[in-house]
C-alpha cells in the first residue's frame, strides 16, 4: 500500500496543482507532497512489495529512493520562494511536471520489471523536457529540443536493449518468461549470452545518455546551463541516479550470467572517458552553470568507474551517490541565486559574489571544495574509497589517471569559481534587487550540513543502507 502511495500521491498532488487557480498555491502543494513523500520513503522497509512483485523495495532501490526523496524535498522548499520571485512565469505546468517527475523517479526506484523501469524513465524524461523550458526563451528552447532529441534516441536504444535482454530470457530452458529482475537473476545461467551482451551495450548507451556519460553527454551543458538552478539539481542528483540504478539492475543480471567482467570493462572505459572529457571542458569554462554540467559528467564517470573496479570501490560509488547528490543541491541552487542576483551566468558579468550575496557566494565556494573532494566533506571519503578500491584491483594506470583528472578538474573548476566569488562586485550585480533570504538558502545549508556529516561521521542507518546495497551488487559475483 505504502509503495503504491509513494507513486500515486505525487500524481494526485499534480492534479491538485493543475486545478488550483494560478498563483502561490501550486508551489506549496509541491512542497507539501514532497514532505509527505519523504516521510513515506523513510518508512519503507527492504522487502516490501506490491502488485505481484512489480514494485518492491530492494537494497539498491531503497538507497536511491531515499536520496531522490531528500533531494526533491530540499529543492521543492527552495522552489516555493523561487517561484514567488519569478511571478512573470506561469508556474502551474511547471509544478505539475515537477510532481510527475517525482512520481516517475519513485517508480524507477521501486520497479522490479525490466520494461516497467523503461516506461518510468521515459515518463521522467518527458516531464523534465518541459521543466528545462521554464524560461521560455530561444536558448532554453534550444536546450529543451536537444535534450528531447538526444534523450529520445537514448531512451529508444534502452528500449531495444531491454527487449534484447528479454529475448535472451526466452532462450532459458526454464520456460519461465517473466521479466521481473528476480526471475532473470534466478535463470541467469540459461540466458542467451550474445543477446544479453548486445542488450547490455544498448542499455549502457541508452541509460548512459540519461546519466550523461561521455560521449553521450552533449545535451547536458545546454540543459543544465539554461534550466533553473533547482531543475539542474533535480537532474544532476535525481534523474542521473535513477538511470544509474537502472544500469545497476541490469549489471546484476550480467554478473549472475557470468558476464560481469565484460560489463565492468565497459564501465571502466566510460568512466575514464567521462572524467577526461569533463577535465578538458571544465578548463577555461566561462559559464559557471555549464561548468556544473561538466562536473556532473565527471561524477557520473566516477560512479561507473567505482562499480567497474569492484570490491570496496562499489561501496565507495554507492556512498558517492549520496554525497554527489547533496553537494549538487548546494552548487546548483547557489549558482541559481548568483545567476538571479547578477542577471548573468558567465564570469565576464559576475564577480564578487561573496560581497553581493554573501551566503550564496559562500555556499557556492563550499560546494566547489566539497565536490572536488576536499576534506572534511563527504565526497572526499567516497572518492578516496573508490581510489582504494581501484588500487586494490591492481588498476594502477586507472588510479593514476583518476588522480590526474581530479587535480586538473580542481584547478579548472577553481579558476571559474574563484572568479565568481572573489573581487569587487561587477556592475551588473548592482542593478537587481535580489538578496539572500531564509528559504532561498536554508535548503542549501541543510544539504551542506549533511555533506559535512557524511564527511566526518557516516550515520549508522546510512552506512547500513549503503552496505546492504553494495552487498547486493557484489554478492552475486
Amino acid at each position: 500500500m505504502l509503495l503504491l502511495a509513494l507513486i500515486v500521491l505525487p500524481l494526485f498532488a499534480a492534479l491538485a496543482a493543475f486545478v488550483t487557480p494560478p498563483g502561490k498555491a501550486a508551489p506549496l502543494i509541491v512542497a507539501g507532497a514532497a514532505v509527505l513523500h519523504l516521510i513515506g520513503s523513510l518508512a519503507v522497509r527492504s522487502g516490501d512489495a506490491t502488485l505481484g512483485g512489480w514494485f518492491a523495495v530492494d537494497a539498491l532501490g531503497h538507497l536511491i529512493l531515499d536520496v531522490v526523496s531528500v533531494l526533491f524535498t530540499l529543492c521543492s522548499l527552495y522552489g516555493v520562494e523561487y517561484l514567488r520571485i519569478r511571478k512573470e512565469r506561469a508556474n502551474r505546468v511547471f509544478c505539475v511536471c515537477l510532481l510527475t517527475f517525482l512520481s516517475m523517479t519513485t517508480a524507477i526506484t521501486l520497479a522490479q520489471h525490466l520494461a516497467v523501469v523503461w516506461v518510468a524513465v521515459e515518463g521522467a524524461t518527458l516531464s523534465t523536457a518541459i521543466l528545462i523550458y521554464f524560461n521560455q526563451n530561444a536558448r532554453s528552447l534550444e536546450a529543451a529540443w536537444k535534450y528531447l532529441m538526444i534523450g529520445s534516441v537514448g531512451i529508444a536504444l534502452a528500449l531495444l536493449g531491454s527487449l534484447f535482454v528479454a529475448y535472451a530470457a526466452l532462450h532459458s530452458a526454464s520456460g519461465d518468461e517473466s521479466l521481473l529482475f528476480g526471475a532473470l537473476l534466478e535463470h541467469a545461467g540459461g540466458l542467451s549470452r550474445p543477446w544479453l551482451r548486445a542488450g547490455f551495450v544498448l542499455l549502457l548507451v541508452g541509460y548512459g545518455t540519461k546519466m550523461g556519460l561521455a560521449p553521450m553527454h552533449t545535451w547536458k551543458p545546454d540543459a543544465y546551463g539554461e534550466a533553473p538552478g533547482m531543475i539542474g539539481a533535480l537532474l544532476a542528483g535525481g534523474m542521473t541516479n535513477c538511470a544509474f540504478l537502472a544500469l545497476l539492475r541490469v549489471y546484476r543480471v550480467m554478473q549472475a550470467a557470468g558476464e560481469g567482467a565484460f560489463a565492468r570493462e565497459l564501465f571502466l572505459a566510460l568512466g575514464m572517458l567521462s572524467m577526461g572529457v569533463a577535465a578538458v571542458f571544465m578548463a577555461g569554462q566561462r559559464d559557471f552553470k555549464r561548468m556544473l554540467a561538466y562536473s556532473s559528467v565527471e561524477h557520473m564517470g566516477i560512479l561507473v568507474l567505482g562499480v567497474g573496479a569492484g570490491g570496496i570501490a562499489v561501496f565507495g560509488a554507492l556512498l558517492h551517490v549520496i554525497n554527489n547528490s547533496l553537494t549538487k543541491v548546494v552548487l546548483f541552487l547557489s549558482a541559481g541565486n548568483i545567476h538571479r542576483a547578477y542577471g548573468s551566468k558567465t564570469i565576464d558579468g559576475v564577480s564578487g559574489a561573496l560581497r553581493r550575496v554573501p551566503l550564496s557566494g559562500f555556499l557556492f565556494l563550499a560546494g566547489f571544495l566539497a565536490i572536488t573532494g576536499s576534506p572534511p566533506f563527504g565526497p572526499f571519503i567516497s572518492e578516496f574509497t573508490i581510489l582504494v578500491g581501484v588500487t586494490t584491483a591492481h588498476l594502477f594506470v586507472t588510479a593514476a589517471l583518476f588522480l590526474v583528472f581530479l587535480i586538473v578538474i580542481f584547478i579548472g573548476m577553481g579558476a571559474t569559481v574563484l572568479a565568481v566569488v572573489q573581487g569587487p562586485v561587477s556592475p551588473a550585480g548592482g542593478t537587481t534587487d535580489f538578496r539572500d533570504s531564509f528559504w532561498r538558502t536554508a535548503p542549501m545549508l541543510a544539504a551542506l550540513a549533511m555533506v559535512v556529516i557524511m564527511g566526518v561521521w557516516i550515520p549508522g542507518a546510512v552506512y547500513d543502507l549503503v552496505l546492504a546495497a553494495a552487498k547486493a551488487l557484489e554478492g552475486a559475483s
Binding site: A138, L141, W145, M149, L163, Y167, D222, G225, F281
Partner: protein, 213 residues
C-alpha cells in the same frame, strides 16, 4: 502466412529508402505512416492464431503509428507554411547509399545473434535494426524539426518490429505503456516545435546553434 509476414517486413524496409530518398517532406511523412501500417499488420500475419489482445494491440498501434502521429505532423506542416523541401545536411543520394550499406551491415550482424527455432525463417532482426538505422539517419542528417520527429517515428517502428518476438512475454500493460510513451513523446516534441516556430519563425533546427563551448 509466414510468406505474407516476410513480405510486409520487406515493404517496411522499402519505406526506409523512400523516406530517406525523397526531397518532399510530405512524402517522407507518408512513407513513415505507411511503414507504421505495415509493421502494425505484421504481428497478425506472423502469429498462427491471433488472440483478442493481439488484435487490440494491432488496432491501437496501427491507429497511433499510421494515422494519429502522421496526422499531427501533417497539421504542423500545414500550419507553419514552410517549404516542403527536406533540406538535408547530408545529400539525398549519399544518405540512401549509407542506408544501403547500413542495411547490409545490420543483416550481417543479425546473423550472429542466435534466434529461437520459431523465429528462424523471419527477417525480423535485420528489418528491425535497419529501420532503426534509417530513423537515426533521418534524425541526424536533416535540418527541419518535422523530419527529425519523423525519424524518431521510424526508429520506433524498428523497435516495434523486434518487440513482436516478445509479445507473449510482455504484459499487455507494458505494451500499452510503450505506445503511450511514443504518443506523448511526439506530442511534447510537437509543442516544442510549435514554440521553435514562434520564436525563430522557422522550423530549421540549424538555427538552434547558440549553445556551444
Amino acid at each position: 502466412m509466414r510468406e505474407a509476414a516476410s513480405a510486409v517486413l520487406i515493404l517496411a524496409v522499402t519505406m526506409n529508402f523512400l523516406a530517406l530518398g525523397t526531397s518532399n517532406l510530405k512524402a517522407c511523412i507518408r512513407a513513415a505512416a505507411l511503414q507504421g501500417l505495415f509493421v502494425s499488420a505484421f504481428p497478425l500475419l506472423f502469429t498462427p492464431a491471433p488472440s483478442l489482445r493481439l488484435l487490440g494491440l494491432v488496432i491501437v498501434a496501427g491507429t497511433v503509428k499510421a494515422f494519429v502521429i502522421p496526422g499531427m505532423l501533417y497539421r504542423a506542416l500545414r500550419e507553419v507554411h514552410i517549404k516542403h523541401e527536406v533540406e538535408p545536411y547530408l545529400g539525398l543520394v549519399p544518405s540512401v547509399l549509407l542506408l544501403a550499406v547500413g542495411t547490409g551491415a545490420t543483416t550481417l550482424f543479425a546473423s550472429r545473434l542466435p534466434l529461437l527455432p520459431a523465429h528462424r525463417d523471419l527477417l525480423v532482426v535485420p528489418v528491425a535494426l535497419s529501420t532503426l538505422f534509417a530513423g537515426f539517419l533521418l534524425l541526424t542528417t536533416r535540418r527541419k524539426a518535422i523530419s527529425q520527429v519523423t525519424g524518431y517515428l521510424i526508429l520506433e517502428n524498428g523497435i516495434f518490429v523486434f518487440a513482436q518476438l516478445l509479445h507473449e512475454a510482455m504484459p499487455a500493460l507494458v505494451e500499452v505503456g510503450v505506445l503511450l510513451d511514443l504518443l506523448v513523446g511526439i506530442f511534447v516534441m510537437g509543442i516544442v516545435m510549435n514554440h521553435i516556430q514562434r520564436e525563430f519563425g522557422s522550423l530549421d533546427t540549424g538555427l538552434l546553434s547558440e549553445l556551444r563551448d
